[in-house]
């Protein structure tokens, strides 16, 4: 006889995470082939027993505007295409089926190439032409130059619903926020692993008129062995506070998972650790899976194999099937 189904009292979360749309198709006044919606959670990630529902997360794949130094096992995937961001973006889309591209305009940094804003905007236009997937426009991280770059990018991409990555309190974020509002673009707010500051900063953005449906939080993703536990806790805390009703934290979460490659274990040659070819991608995809379980909605990633692996995790985790199935081949592992 079947026993009654085990149930826990519902947690009763107060607020849903906002939904952010990325990319505009012709119907919406843009030129992208597809658009994506992220966020919308009503419980912590995969708490199906509590009625978990959410938009499918999306992975955006890195393209840099100059061939930057990357680990050999990453470079190997792109070859000469790294010389030109258009080619790199095309390769990402054609060969690796990228759903979204992050164009990092790193060369605009005065310490790197000091590319002018006008030139950077030309690159953006070129990439918009070259591929028809939605875009994230990334700055160089230079707090003096990024505000102008990102606000100009908002203008250049008008109608395309791009994401501007990123703004933080130590720069003229007001300028970027105003441009984003004017051109209806979304923003990534970046605060390294600090929920209280994240809350304060998002409130400032909202005071400037940025809507919750246009903000994605980046709490920084440390790789395994390089601070992943801080990232897990920062994301989990923000997500819980958001679900419990904090309007400044009930926002989708972005994970710049490529950071995982800063861990030596991802790229360094070391016989003790085994070959690098799979160790590197595994480092990135396992870091991503920690972010996924902690609530991340948007992933910015580097290695195509890590991307594939995370995609198949999405498929598996978002397809709950019969949650209460009573049959499982698992116990055969003993004799298998």
């Amino acid at each position: 006889m079947a026993s009654p189904r085990f149930k826990l009292p519902k947690e009763g979360y107060k607020q849903r995470i906002s939904v952010v749309s990325i990319g505009a198709t012709r119907r919406d006044g843009g030129t992208r082939d597809k658009s994506y919606r992220i966020g919308g959670e009503n419980t912590p990630a995969f708490h199906y027993f509590d009625g978990f529902k959410a938009c499918h997360p999306v992975i955006s794949e890195d393209v840099f505007d100059i061939p930057i130094h990357l680990p050999g096992n990453v470079r190997h995937c792109f070859g000469d295409a790294m010389e030109d961001p258009r080619d790199w973006a095309r390769l990402r889309v054609k060969k690796y089926a990228a759903k979204m591209i992050t164009l990092h305009l790193v060369s605009t940094d005065p310490k790197v190439g000091n590319t002018s804003i006008a030139e950077a905007c030309k690159t953006i236009e070129d990439v918009l032409q070259a591929v028809k997937v939605p875009l994230i426009i990334g700055g160089s991280g230079n707090p003096d130059k990024d505000p102008e770059l990102l606000s100009k990018a908002a203008e250049v991409c008008s109608g395309e619903s791009v994401v501007l990555s990123s703004v933080g309190p130590d720069m003229n974020y007001r300028q970027v926020a105003e441009a984003a509002v004017k051109h209806d673009q979304s923003l990534v707010s970046l605060i390294s692993m600090n929920p209280d500051e994240m809350r304060r900063f998002n409130r400032n953005l909202m005071k400037l008129g940025v809507k919750p449906s246009n903000i994605i939080m980046d709490l920084f993703t440390g790789g395994i062995g390089y601070g992943v536990e801080y990232s897990i806790s920062a994301m989990e805390r923000c997500r819980l506070l958001g679900l419990q009703g904090d309007p400044f934290l009930s926002l989708p979460i972005a994970s710049a998972t490529s950071n995982a490659w800063s861990a030596r274990e991802a790229w360094m040659h070391n016989e003790e650790w085994g070959p690098r070819e799979l160790r590197g991608p595994l480092w990135e995809s396992s870091t991503a899976s920690m972010a996924l379980l902690s609530g991340a909605d948007l992933f910015m990633m580097l290695h195509p194999f890590a991307v594939d692996c995370l995609e198949s995790l999405f498929d598996a985790l978002f397809k709950p099937g019969d949650l209460y199935s009573t049959h499982s081949p698992y116990s055969m592992w003993v004799e298998g």
């Binding site: 826990l8 062995g225 992943v228 995809s285 692996c309 099937g321």
Partner: protein, 458 residues
């Protein structure tokens, strides 16, 4: 909502409040804090009344009970999210051995468990034990495999079979080592229970449903036994992963909500992943991925099959990350360290007292073979990059540390190499200390090259 976490004040309410100090702590309150941290036991206070003793023990029992076998204690957790307090017992990893494996392979696997160890941030990370399963269903094979394992490995063991006769055979050989018994189900549980009682060890209860686990565990508890571990299974079919994560999460949540019969550690055998019909090459990757998901989602013990170091490494490191205490930055003592055998000509380098920073830098230096002095300053336990970003480094404090180290008496130069990330401090440091400050590379792994090439010419 989770049951409210226990507080020190609650414990304090049940202490004698004499502040006599016999427990080794100055006040009852500081003792209460240590109880909460599991750094003191009720038996440390000699003045407790029987009633106080009972209440304290009841209060201190974690909602996920700790179960024990061999010399291990697993589970004993009390939160869903590590930021709520901390996770306590890092899940042990057991290497899968089957009695169908050739002798060579079994020995290789044992060797891996004994030898594979990674020194990281001052910790030695390694696998923990060997799990032997009766895949052949032939008792002589199982005995033979087990003999081989027990002769060559003295650490924690798991015996796997759903047949109590097989487990009993195994226990006759290694029972004194209190191996974990895997597993009891709705058919064999009372026989497995008998064995666990006889050999004073724990056993695993398996059912693919939460209801199944609940009813089995209730029956076993009612027999007066509670040294249990629950295995809800990993569903290795395509749509099974969501179900698996859901079950593990629900079970932890139920334990924290006070559902007593589910308040036991959970385990997972990711060796099950190898049953799936995909190429062997991708299996270590898949297994590592699923194990990392379940490390985050509450498994307190793992049986792994993959022997690929690249797939085990992230698991060992992730485990130490997740189970680290989130309330403290791991630090080393800020002082002058000697690398190799430095003399008056040796370089002097500066770094911060975050454990990971100290060990990364000192390992790099050791690897480079250069003898030198490493001055570790107190950054409040922050990594060099973080300390700079947070503006937590005072030139004042650095120069005091430099003076205190008496380095000027030990070397015949005044050259201090600082991390690349501290570049902005260079000028002020030079002014304050009178030393030449040299900006080193961003990453200490470049120090070998840097010192080899530049030190002689600096």
């Amino acid at each position: 909502m989770n049951v409210k976490r226990l507080t020190a004040l609650q414990l304090y309410g049940h202490l004698p409040k004499t502040d006599c100090g016999r427990c080794g702590f100055k006040t009852c309150m500081s003792y209460a804090l240590k109880l909460l941290e599991r750094e003191a036991k009720p038996s440390d206070c000699p003045l407790l009344s029987d009633e106080q003793w009972n209440t304290l023990n009841k209060l201190l029992m974690p909602p996920v009970q700790a179960s024990s076998f061999s010399n291990l204690s697993v589970g004993g957790e009390e939160v869903l999210y590590r930021h709520e307090f901390r996770f306590f017992n890092p899940p042990p990893f057991f290497m899968d051995v089957s009695d169908l494996m050739p002798e060579e392979e079994i020995l290789d696997r044992i060797k891996l468990v004994k030898d594979f160890s990674v020194e990281r941030a001052g910790m030695r990370l390694s696998l923990d034990g060997v799990s032997v399963r009766s895949a052949s269903n032939k008792d002589y094979r199982f005995r033979k495999a087990l003999e081989l394992v027990s002769e060559n490995f003295s650490g924690p063991l798991i015996l796997c079979s759903f047949k109590p006769e097989v487990l009993r055979d195994g226990l006759e050989l290694v029972g004194s080592r209190r191996p974990l018994l895997y597993a009891a189900d709705s058919e064999n549980w009372s026989a497995v229970l008998k064995l666990a009682r006889k050999y004073d060890t724990a056993f695993v209860v398996y059912s693919p449903t939460v209801e199944g686990l609940s009813s089995l565990s209730k029956r076993i508890i009612s027999e007066g036994f509670s040294n249990l571990i629950l295995d809800p299974g990993i569903d290795v079919r395509d749509d099974g992963l969501a179900r698996t994560v859901n079950k593990f999460t629900l079970l932890r949540k139920a334990a924290l909500d006070g559902v007593g019969e589910l308040g036991f550690p959970l385990m997972a055998s990711t060796a099950s992943v190898w049953m799936r019909g995909c190429g062997d090459e991708s299996k270590p990757y898949l297994e590592s991925t699923i194990a990392s998901l379940l490390l985050h989602r509450f498994a307190s013990l793992f049986i792994v099959h993959s022997i690929e170091r690249w797939s085990l490494l992230p698991l060992l490191i992730l485990r130490s990350n997740i189970y680290g205490d989130p309330r403290v930055e791991p630090t080393v003592e800020p002082k002058l360290y000697e690398i190799g055998e430095p003399n008056e000509f040796s370089p002097v380098l500066l770094s911060t007292n975050f454990t990971l920073t100290y060990f990364s830098v000192s390992d790099d230096l050791r690897r480079s073979g250069v003898s030198c002095f490493l001055l570790i300053i107190d950054s409040g336990g922050l990594a060099a990059t973080v300390a700079v970003a947070a503006d937590k480094l005072s030139v004042e404090a650095i120069s005091r540390a430099l003076e205190k180290s008496r380095l000027s008496e030990r070397v015949n130069h005044k050259k201090l190499i600082i991390p690349g990330v501290m570049e902005s401090l260079k000028e002020e440091l030079e002014r304050r200390t009178g030393w030449d400050v040299i900006v080193g590379p961003q990453d200490s792994s470049q120090l070998g090259v840097f010192l080899g090439k530049e030190w002689s010419t600096l």
